[in-house]
């Protein structure tokens, strides 16, 4: 009986969030754009039109019935490469070392998870404890924020070399200050609530209060922010790829595809558009989705 009601409420919850998304036109459009790429990514796990890394065709072909989006400067099918390129962003991460170990969850996803974990811990400590904790943590964050993002990426990659984990690390470090600031301001707001006082008068530990009392109530804005951050991460991965220091081969990297196509821009102008569009739509989709969701959630609060 009890289990049944719980199950129902979970379904209910799912339906609630779906209807929340559908309530906002912006979020709906955004989620469609994101879903499109997610579906392509899953399909690419089992099937792509052609081998993404084989130069099976003539070089620099325009779109044609065989190669829907044409071929690149090495005669590879662009559509297959685009499909394959979604994987490493959204679905899988390649660990360094022997044996090509692959873990689920794309580089963008893990990067965001990393920055959330780091940022939330820092932000909650700064926001809830205040005083010296706040001063020190904020000072560190200030220093981190002061780094122009790309410079930080460049520095990290210059120092540690290329690789999925390095990109995840770079995204985590650059994202953490933003998350921390958000978590801090939320914690500072929530800690004034009486239920925090109640927990304190029960003599609860600081960590219990931060993670059990505060965090659940901050999760809404944090999740929306995380969604936005996945967009930023894809943005960043694209940029790194474009600069030639992104995710290493053999998997195609959208940013790198743009870069390569740019070099051949006079022989095949369209080749540059497809990966560029792919990045733009995915990022914009995530942005729209998060934005619409946020708007809808705040409207709920009103």
């Amino acid at each position: 009986m009890k289990a049944k009601t719980k199950k129902k409420s979970r379904l209910q919850k799912f339906w609630d969030s779906v209807s929340l998304i559908l309530a906002s036109r912006v979020a709906t459009v955004g989620s469609i754009m994101v879903l499109f790429w997610l579906v392509l990514a899953f399909i690419s796990l089992f099937w792509t039109p052609y081998d993404y890394n084989a130069s099976d065709f003539l070089q620099n072909l325009g779109p044609n019935p065989q190669n829907w989006l044409g071929t690149d400067h090495l005669g590879r099918d662009i559509f297959s490469r685009l499909m394959k390129g979604t994987q490493v962003v959204l679905l899988k991460t390649r660990l360094p070392g022997e044996g090509n170990i692959i873990i689920p969850g794309g580089v963008a996803i893990w990067g965001v998870i990393g920055s959330m974990a780091l940022g939330v811990t820092m932000g909650l400590n700064a926001g809830y404890r205040g005083g010296w904790w706040d001063q020190v943590i904020m000072q560190i964050l200030d220093a981190l924020i002061a780094f122009p993002r790309i410079v930080l990426y460049l520095v990290v990659i210059a120092a540690l070399g290329q690789g999925d984990l390095v990109v995840i690390l770079a995204i985590s470090i650059t994202g953490a200050p933003g998350v921390a600031r958000l978590a801090r301001s939320l914690a500072m707001d929530i800690k004034t609530r009486d239920y925090i006082r109640a927990a304190e008068t029960r003599g609860e530990s600081v960590w219990y209060i931060m993670f059990k009392e505060i965090l659940p109530n901050a999760s809404g804005p944090l999740l929306v922010d995380g969604m936005l951050r996945v967009g930023y991460a894809i943005f960043a991965i694209g940029t790194l790829g474009f600069l030639g220091i992104g995710l290493p081969p053999p998997d195609p990297d959208w940013g790198n595809m743009v870069n390569e196509a740019r070099r051949n821009i006079f022989s095949n102008q369209l080749a540059v558009i497809w990966p560029a569009l792919a990045i733009a739509t995915l990022v914009i989709g995530l942005n729209l989705f998060a934005d619409g969701l946020r708007e809808e959630m705040t409207r709920y609060q009103k």
């Binding site: 000072q139 122009p148 943005f235 694209g238 940029t239 990022v283």
Partner: protein
């Protein structure tokens, strides 16, 4: 207010210090053996060690950090026993180090086991003579001499024990005798305007960096001047028309523009204006460092790209702030007081609405700098961003440290300015 400002300034200084340590440690410790990059993979361990010593990389990290930050001439001075000064080399225009021996600019070199004093005359010519009496004796009874060599190092020679060193010349590594035992590559330090020698170019970083900074300031300045008024205007416009089609249009467009990476925007713009319409040069041809001053048209696409990306962000911030302000109680008061709409917007709303974005905009300058890297790479623009990129790829740590510190300084100083502007706009802080 004094408290607030003082606090910002202290925080700025602490931040800079923290950043410099982090940067230094990350790069110098994190990056592997730089000699691989410079000497190639075929150099022998012995060659590498020798070269590392010449670069001063054998010193402990904290020592190198201090040298890098505030220079090491004051440290070397104690060894040499004379004040160390710089003088301009008439051929390269760069500064060379000398010891100031009783008013004479002096350097030394070792040739076939003998120490030779080189004195630079007023007219720039150099006289050389043997100086055998200069040797000092250490505890073990060896004769040694600390002096300034011709490659701007403070070095220690041992009499009769000329070390074998590998010198990097244009032709490659060459083995030389008569080498010094110890090197202190002289530098004034970052704070005194000398971040060291670029490994990539073999010239002082400062010399190569300054024109780049200038170029970037031009690009960023023009972009900033275009973006700020436009973005604030559009943001306010959207904010006061919340929910109306105009707002929708501005919001969605700016969201799209912001969410599109710079390199995508840049390439679209190249395609459209450079290749299809042929209005503007598709690839900026910066033949010289001064090209932008000769042909300002070259700036158009880089500026446009930056504008597209940054505009949206600031406009959205401003819009959100404006919407919030327009819903506030004091605006309601103004409406209930029967104030005309234009007056409400201009007198009551804008000042409050700009308070939040201004700090955020200033914080956002480092985002702009990040964008600069990409934009400069796309267009081959000879600016700071491109320089950082190149240095990072090469592993030119002196260069990247210096360039990164410059960007960080720009970011932090603008943030400080933002804080100050906020203080001035917000009477709550101004009068407390």
């Amino acid at each position: 207010m004094a408290r607030f400002i003082l606090r910002s300034i202290i925080s700025t200084i602490v931040t800079m210090l923290l950043v410099s340590i982090a940067l230094f440690v990350l790069i110098e410790v994190g990056s592997g053996d730089i000699t691989v990059k410079i000497l190639g993979v075929f150099a022998t361990p012995e060659q590498r060690a020798s070269y590392r010593a010449q670069l001063g990389l054998d010193a402990p990290v904290w020592q190198r950090y201090i040298d890098w930050l505030i220079g090491n001439d004051w440290r070397a001075k104690r060894k040499v026993g004379y004040p160390l000064v710089t003088a301009t080399n008439p051929q390269t225009g760069e500064k060379d180090w000398y010891a100031d021996v009783d008013g004479q600019l002096t350097r030394w070199k070792m040739e076939e086991g003998r120490l030779i004093t080189l004195k630079r005359q007023e007219d720039g010519s150099v006289t050389s003579h043997l100086s055998s009496g200069a040797w000092k004796i250490n505890e073990e009874g060896n004769e040694y001499f600390w002096g300034v060599d011709t490659k701007n190092n403070t070095v220690m020679w041992m009499r009769g024990e000329g070390a074998e060193v590998w010198a990097l010349t244009k032709a490659g590594l060459r083995k030389e005798g008569d080498g010094p035992q110890k090197y202190i590559p002289l530098r004034k330090g970052l704070l005194r305007g000398d971040p060291g020698i670029s490994l990539q170019y073999g010239r002082p970083v400062a010399v190569t960096l300054i024109p780049r900074i200038r170029n970037t300031l031009v690009l960023a300045g023009v972009a900033f001047a275009v973006i700020m008024p436009l973005a604030l205007f559009l943001g306010i416009l959207a904010g006061i028309n919340e929910g109306k089609p105009l707002d929708r249009f501005i919001s969605i467009t700016s969201l799209g523009a912001t969410a599109t990476p710079e390199f995508v925007t840049g390439i679209f713009l190249i395609l459209i204006f450079g290749i299809w319409l042929k209005w503007l040069p598709a690839v900026a041809l910066f033949t010289s460092a001064d090209a932008i001053f000769e042909n300002p048209k070259l700036l158009a696409l880089p500026v446009l790209t930056l504008t597209a990306v940054e505009l949206g962000y600031i406009a959205r911030m401003t819009r959100a702030s404006m919407v919030e302000v327009m819903e506030s109680d004091y605006i309601r008061t103004a409406i209930i007081k029967g104030m005309p709409k234009t007056r409400i917007i201009l007198k009551h709303a804008i000042r409050n609405a700009l308070m939040a974005p201004i700090t955020i905009i200033m914080l956002h300058v480092n985002w702009l700098v990040g964008g600069l890297v990409v934009v400069e790479v796309i267009f081959g623009y000879p600016g700071l961003g491109y320089y950082i990129y190149k240095s990072a790829i090469f592993g030119d740590f002196n260069a990247i440290e210096a360039a990164a510190m410059v960007t960080v300084a720009i970011a932090i100083i603008t943030r400080l300015l933002g804080d100050l502007a906020y203080t001035l706009l917000n009477p709550r802080i101004r009068y407390s």
